[in-house]
Symmetry: D2
């Protein structure tokens, strides 16, 4: 398996290149009986569309999804759901030049090293368009989770030096601002900062945060399939992510145990935690508190200022990248991160289903 | 699979609880013909032993490894290598009290939530002793990698507020200092800081860094089994790790693309990078530069000062943890992190072996 | 994973229902650099087409394959190859009646039991059309194997009481006869027998044999992923197959050891076997002799004579199946069996690649 | 993974060689809360013990199992259960001679071809002692199934020309006869036949049948993880098995559809089948009828009469095998086959648990 499948029981397999005929995903393991239509999925795909604002590439990508299998009379049948999005807006000529050199910060060189050659058009398989499959599958996972009372909210936490203020947190802003920040004021500042980056032919990084509410205690498998371990893999597998942290993350490294431990207390007859430094996961297993994690995203490697690199002939050269590129990856990656988390949580729900003899007996009426 | 196996082709399966009869690992997929004896493995296990210095628990754990299968006349046979370490130093009476309450920062509550009850002695399966299997397996992975010219070096980067100075970097210090810091001076400071923590009945976190030299370009599978994604899962699966970063990690989120991109250049006829902000991985595939990553580790949750929590009867109580506990997890986790990385890199070497028709033909003389 | 993926390193994921929009497969793990075009795949798909002769259904299924990803400038890129075949000849009205009862010998009842409801049109996911994805993927596996000197030949060995005579074996006949028998004379007899079955509104079973030449010794992994174990799973997963045997198969159960053991002898400096009762596999590992196995296939369950069954309301009823159905499954299943074997052998070649330190060093020039 | 693990959610990993220090298995995925002690497992291991009767080898193998992890206060904890059986009766000197040649019908040559060398003592990893791990794990699977109302019964159906008569079927005879035949009279005849084989320095094959009662309809995953496909792999992975059939198996190949289809009918308000030619599986999914399958087992390859073979120097030689060998594999393989089936059925129960939204909601009280 060349790494295009993810998930043990709720398994997705993505395929497609930036400038191929189409991209898609096969979702295997969705339970039967879920109401599902294309609109459910389109809603999520529209959140990753470019061409929507001035801070994103002027490319128009309609990215209309089609369900090819696995749904009958409006409900999932339990068999694989195949989803396809046709490529309609490729201008391959834009990319012919990059066939012969390696763009800094891109996977051009490593794909050549691994495979001997590559589909160089628009980054081929390493393009951000690859995430279409993840988002389409994540839409299904999110709908199942929603029926189980589990809800995910990802948003932009910071762009370059501009961070949101949690006191101004407004969930509506996530879908309404071009930055996907839940803070209208910070979003305005970030847009100004991005305009400045663009004027300077440069790009910038940022941070995505995700909160998951309603996760029951008990998800995650010791010792290698810990919930935080699987989330880390899922999130780090998104292109451009260079760090992942759970709960208070990097801060815990300089803390005392007395500060960092979350005391337990009874609340409404339930075991709860007074604080949530742990981010909802203890010993790799969900503890019933909200799960919180963050992804640190690098600046778009495609910048318009001149850069030094080498070509396939082994010569040192200087290049200027052309084409249509966002100055920041973060806003469009927000829904991708949310979807990868949804798939991971759902798979954990599935693998946990048979952890106790009692549950097993209940399932099979024994 | 309840999550106790890791790796696709070089697969390890660990088992054992803190206070059970023994702990161990089955290593399946080690190639035939590798010279291997118990001393090769003991060398690594000794690096995680407690009771060696005043900053670690006074427990004596000899942790002598025995090879039960898979080695014949001094060489691996290609069949599963079963390794066992008998538990010899358990004092279960120490732990009887914790059977009825949930220690803050521990997995007591989440194991109960998941399984209905737990082996409470010394943390059971969630104990740090679980890492014995990882380290034993990692010793084998490291030996194979070493024969292929790949070498890993993990060390403590910081403990609480004390960080190493890379200008004083001395590899020998890693094995010689009780902190596993590659800087004798920083280690002295850290020891003082730890003594202070212990006097205050408290614990502290820290950072582990790992550098991997000699990794050929081309390892890692797009798109979900990216090398950094798999490393993140491997490292985050080590108890107490709360964040993982690759290369410059979290710093890239506030950087410009022009700062963060690593220019390529030719050097001795090879494609190399002028800088290595990416930490040796581009697009999820190794680029031939050293791989660098960091793990952020939380403070030991077992502290001796009083803490609030709840018991199994659902009452709010205050507890004082007794027993033998390190004030810091980091030094003993250094070898665990190194071993998990070794297993991950080796598995990537295996899965990459058939990426090209040319290599396949070479293997099978076609 | 709901069972729609097969293979560890060369992994295929199929999707699609009989009367959905399309069917297809994602092939992940094909090595880069293989010349590949639609015609390579169409050649295999045409071998499973119905509507070609009077012994098969008069349905016209063009089943034209389209490559959607993973091939660039005529060669595989190492990334997932997505293949699609659009459904063009469905007449759903034919099947509306079967929505409410369970056809004997079909999966109608078991799908309802498992999922609560089913896509009843033409058998949905349990239709023989599901094998389109297997055959498309098998065409790619076969092409890779061919470049490594490995060739597979499957054919019909018997239909009802009519068996081929190995002395009349003619490979050309496999593709030229409507029965896929490598014996023109037996094929004529079988056609007469089938005409008789059709007149009697009945169907009949048969046997498929497959020979694989050029397999190097050493493929197959002890103890669970034995080559014969994996072949058995692959072949038994083809609908209507009820028994699988390797080499002399069922006959060995009544044999003496002195008859059944294959003596080794040197031939042209190579270890060979004097006989091949074992069918090319010893201890689950290929021994360098041709691999031989057989699949026993049940009669088409859809017959036109009246049958007793029950409906969804729980009433005993009598039904007469209408529609277009072959009186025998075997001829069209020949290429499916061959393709499943090809995928299994290729996957075994991949997993075996890293069995020895020597090979590993050779791959990585260490 | 070199093939020593089996099962997706109830996963077993076996290890150990015939003449190593010990053999064992790690069982990962057993649900928490199952009462379990060594006697539960010993009961099954005792059924595969040699040295019990004159038709089996005079070797004494006590094969006492020890639970090393995963059980606390008499119940499973949900964490991996490690089981070990120490080797006590090896006489390695018996085998030194076979180091240099390849025994016909054994895996000596194929292990050398695959790995470059082998642990030749008693067959090493390809020894029948490898099945100890399977049986120990199968005992746990059987106990869980038993609590869910599912019961397996495997027995010897025939030995050479001697078959049981189903009219004399007596379940007690399975455990009481040395042949494991459920027919005292046939067993006597088989014993006489075996005595004759031994006098002639020869061995013989036989057939094992297994019936599984109480399996609910709905188990098995279309299309590759069909229940019969997984059973076939499990059973074919047992050394010496050369054919597997489900239900009426090979007989269906010469049948008419009108004979072979099992009519459905209502009985006590349940959908049932009038006949069970299908062996309890339709379209790869259990149909609620008893599951029936058969394994065809080859004669013991170790025979005392002279045989032709080659040695490692590439010379044609004649050998006479010495040592202690059963004239038939079948009786001791009965419990192995039963255990592999139990593991497969249990895993199917696990993977099926999340097939419907309704069940998922019921598990998580949503």
């Amino acid at each position: 398996m060349a790494g295009s499948s993810y998930g043990k029981l709720f398994q997705i397999t993505t395929w497609g290149e930036s400038h191929g005929k189409a991209l898609g995903v096969v979702v295997d393991g969705a339970p039967a009986g879920l109401p599902l239509c294309e609109a459910d999925i389109q809603l999520f795909l529209d959140r990753r569309k470019p061409g929507q604002t001035k801070i994103s590439t002027p490319r128009k990508e309609n990215d209309e999804v089609e369900i090819l299998s696995g749904v009958f009379e409006g409900r999932t049948t339990g068999t694989p759901i195949s989803l396809i999005v046709h490529n309609t807006s490729q201008r391959s000529s834009d990319y012919s030049e990059i066939a012969n050199y390696y763009r800094p910060g891109h996977a051009d060189y490593t794909f050549d090293a691994k495979y001997g050659f590559r589909d160089y058009r628009g980054g081929g398989r390493s393009s951000a368009r690859e995430t279409i499959g993840r988002v389409a599958a994540g839409a299904i996972a999110s709908k199942i989770l929603s029926e189980l009372g589990i809800h995910l909210t990802a948003y932009t936490k910071s762009i370059g030096p501009v961070s949101i203020d949690m006191e101004r947190f407004d969930k509506n802003a996530i879908l309404e601002t071009p930055t996907c920040m839940p803070d209208y004021q910070a979003s305005k500042q970030a847009e100004q900062y991005l305009a400045e980056c663009m004027r300077e032919y440069d790009s910038v990084g940022g941070v995505i945060e995700c909160v998951i509410d309603g996760v029951p205690a008990g998800l995650g498998e010791p010792v290698f399939d810990k919930l935080d371990a699987n989330l880390s893999k899922a999130i780090m597998s998104v292109g451009a992510v260079k760090a992942v942290e759970i709960g208070d993350g990097i801060q815990v490294a300089s803390r005392r145990g007395s500060e960092n431990n979350d005391a337990f207390m009874m609340k409404d007859g339930q075991v709860t935690k007074v604080t949530n430094h742990a981010g909802g996961i203890l010993g790799g297993i969900s503890d019933g508190s909200p799960i919180i994690f963050r992804a640190y995203v690098k600046p778009t490697p495609s910048i318009f200022s001149p850069q030094k690199t080498v070509n396939k002939a082994g010569e040192n050269i200087e290049i200027s990248i052309k084409g249509r590129h966002d100055p920041i990856v973060v806003p469009r990656a927000v829904v991708v991160v949310e979807c990868m988390a949804a798939i991971t949580i759902l798979d954990a729900l599935f693998t946990n289903a048979t952890a106790k003899m009692d549950t097993l007996k209940r399932i099979y009426h024994a």
